[in-house]
């Protein structure tokens, strides 16, 4: 495997996933902090930013992610396979699966995860991911909670957590050494009307720009979209009208589990119309519980209590706004189960208005259309995000990612001196982001694949080499699944199946199999549990975090 030397003072950045040649998905980055010491020697430390999953690669895997081999330390060892030092930390920008979902798999494969630094909501959702995977508690990483403005010191670098608008707890990272300064956006947009967590602060971003930013590593997902985005406040007003027009009827909303800001808008719409808010379904419940664990006052923001489906069960349906999952027509989500009248599903009939305040992404359009048709067959009135404008309600969905206007604002505030490096996008999205930067007079570095090593130092920013980043393809082990007393899906509540057991294939950087289900056997960390689980021997170095408080 190629190895690129990193011995010049400054920062090295490597996108290990997020600049895929085969489409958007997954995020993982490595930063090396290299400093020349007083005695002329070179010191080098490194850390990771995000470790997420790529879904739907079309190769039959549940997910793909960058291999932990050579990066993470195998349990019982003191250094990664192939040598080099262990990463000092894993910094998480936010709680979406494409940013943290691979952590549980690396642990499952027998690796230790370095100490994690994340905001409270992100930390709670990582916790949720480890619980869902059934990872024994003694294998979990150290999890340190940070807030906006906190600064972690890693070697000679200072890393500031900078709140951004995207989901509760979303943060960018400002990474500074004597020689270089990088702003890593994470996923972001600008919407000051989002209710949960800390808001992006343009004044702080301008101050960061004034102090000097060399490179912005930035989210490309929606940059090709122009025009003014709908704010969450506008979406809330439109949802309030839809609920108001459904007087005397049951209202069921289908969202994504992680759309807590939309849940707050639905709560406000319910409250304004004299209804109570209830949630139903595991992933939505997980996110509400994570907000509670993180100290976010979601009921205060919604202006109403949040009832469990059990609490709402005996209330007249016309007094409830029931929120469930299924905006992407996932096979076992609430709306889908209702559409197919599965046992225990929410009843939906001619007295029900269904609202889906989330546009379908291209890969789910067919399933989405057939779910809507099925709900209409049941007699329901269905208001989708696609239909709401033509029904006169206006927008009820907005992407969580920066559109052109947002990216332009960010670059104007940060004024990157050397370069913008688009990430988190397919070829077209990355190209649009780069074009926008160039239109502002900022050079752009468009990477069409993962693995390029970029040095940012006193002399500028440049690609110094490319390393192959191999991937892991994870699929559920059918042999193991067959032996377990797994209840069939779709049997309503208390359908508890044991966590899935995965087998892992090693893939090359473009997703071709190089080693089929033959990776060194992990020490068993998912159920069925080993009677005496292996101990975490690698605890990593604890970072010094200066708090903003």
């Amino acid at each position: 495997m190629t190895h690129v030397d990193r011995r010049e003072a400054g920062l090295y950045w490597q996108s290990r996933m997020g600049n895929n040649a085969d489409g958007i998905g997954g995020n993982a980055h490595r930063y090396d902090v290299v400093a020349e010491e007083a005695d002329g020697s070179i010191s080098s430390r490194h850390f990771l930013v995000d470790y997420g999953l790529k879904l739907g690669g079309g190769r039959g895997y549940s997910c793909e992610f960058p291999s932990p081999e050579g990066v993470f330390v195998r349990r019982g060892e003191s250094a990664p396979d192939g040598g080099g030092g262990p990463p000092e930390a894993l910094l998480l920008t936010h709680a979406h699966e494409d940013h943290l979902g691979a952590v549980r798999h690396a642990i499952d494969m027998g690796y230790s995860c370095p100490p994690v630094y994340a905001t409270a909501f992100t930390a709670a959702m990582l916790n949720n991911s480890l619980v869902k995977a059934g990872i024994a508690r003694d294998l979990w990483p150290e999890i340190h909670i940070v807030r906006g403005g906190d600064v972690a010191e890693i070697g000679s670098a200072k890393v500031e957590f900078v709140p951004m608008d995207h989901m509760p707890g979303a943060t960018a990272l400002r990474i500074r050494t004597k020689e270089a300064s990088v702003f890593h956006t994470g996923d972001y947009k600008f919407d000051e009307t989002l209710a949960l967590g800390e808001r992006a602060d343009p004044h702080r971003l301008r101050a960061i720009g004034a102090e000097g930013v060399d490179m912005v590593v930035s989210d490309s997902t929606s940059v090709a979209t122009n025009g003014a985005p709908a704010s969450e406040a506008e979406i809330c007003r439109n949802l309030t009208r839809i609920v108001g027009d459904s007087r005397g009827r049951a209202v069921v909303a289908g969202i994504l589990g992680s759309q807590l800001d939309r849940l707050v808008s639905l709560g406000r719409a319910a409250h304004a119309n004299g209804r109570v808010l209830a949630v139903c379904g595991r992933s939505l419940a997980d996110n509400v519980a994570a907000a509670q664990a993180a100290g976010l006052d979601i009921e205060g923001a919604a202006g109403t209590r949040i009832l469990t489906s059990r609490e709402a069960r005996d209330l007249p349906p016309e007094t409830v706004l029931m929120v469930t999952t299924g905006a992407f027509a996932q096979s076992n989500a609430g709306l889908m189960r209702s559409a197919h009248r599965q046992p225990g599903a929410l009843p939906i009939d001619e007295n029900t208005t269904v609202v889906i305040p989330q546009r379908a992404i291209p890969s789910v359009k067919t399933a989405h259309a057939s779910m809507v048709a099925k709900l209409e067959e049941r007699g329901a009135k269905v208001v989708t995000a696609e239909r709401a404008p033509e029904l006169g309600y206006g927008p009820i969905h907005q992407s969580g990612h920066a559109v052109e206007r947002d990216a332009k604002l960010l670059y104007t505030l940060l004024k990157p001196r050397k370069i913008v490096a688009p990430i988190h996008g397919d070829g077209k999205q990355v190209e649009a982001n780069g074009r926008l930067a160039r239109s502002l007079g900022i050079p752009s570095l468009m990477l069409e694949r993962n693995g390029a090593v970029v040095h940012i130092g006193a002399s500028g920013a440049s690609v110094v080499g490319v390393e192959e980043v191999s991937r892991i393809g994870a699929r559920e082990s059918e042999a193991v699944v067959k032996q377990l007393p797994r209840a069939p899906r779709g049997q309503g509540r208390n359908n508890r199946a044991p966590p899935a057991v995965f087998v892992y294939d090693r893939l090359d950087g473009s997703g071709r199999i190089v080693q089929h289900a033959n990776l060194p056997a992990p020490e068993v960390s998912t159920r069925p549990k080993a009677p005496d689980g292996p101990q975490t021997v690698y605890a990593g170095a604890r970072l010094h975090v200066q708090t903003s408080r």
């Binding site: 595991r282 664990a293 189960r337 225990g344 992404i361």
Partner: protein, 76 residues
């Protein structure tokens, strides 16, 4: 059971407190409810935030079941 046995505690909480809202239960109440479970051995140990949150999610899992994964979360 002790604080690390998050799955067992989640199941026990669900069985013992079917009428408590598992979504929005406050941390202090969660500690109190766990400490009151028969067979809980760590009643005098204050859990760290990570252990307590794991128990919270295990309770949600026991109460809500597994239906409705959102595998696409993150791309919207």
């Amino acid at each position: 059971m002790n604080w690390d046995d998050y799955e067992g505690l989640g199941r026990a909480l669900h069985e013992a407190n079917p009428d408590v809202n598992h979504l929005t239960v406050a941390d202090a109440d969660l500690v109190r409810l766990v400490s009151a479970l028969p067979g809980f051995a760590d009643a005098r140990i204050r859990p760290d935030a990570t252990s307590l949150t794991a128990v919270r999610f295990a309770w949600v899992a026991a109460a809500e079941g597994d239906d409705d994964g959102s595998p696409y979360d993150g791309s919207a």
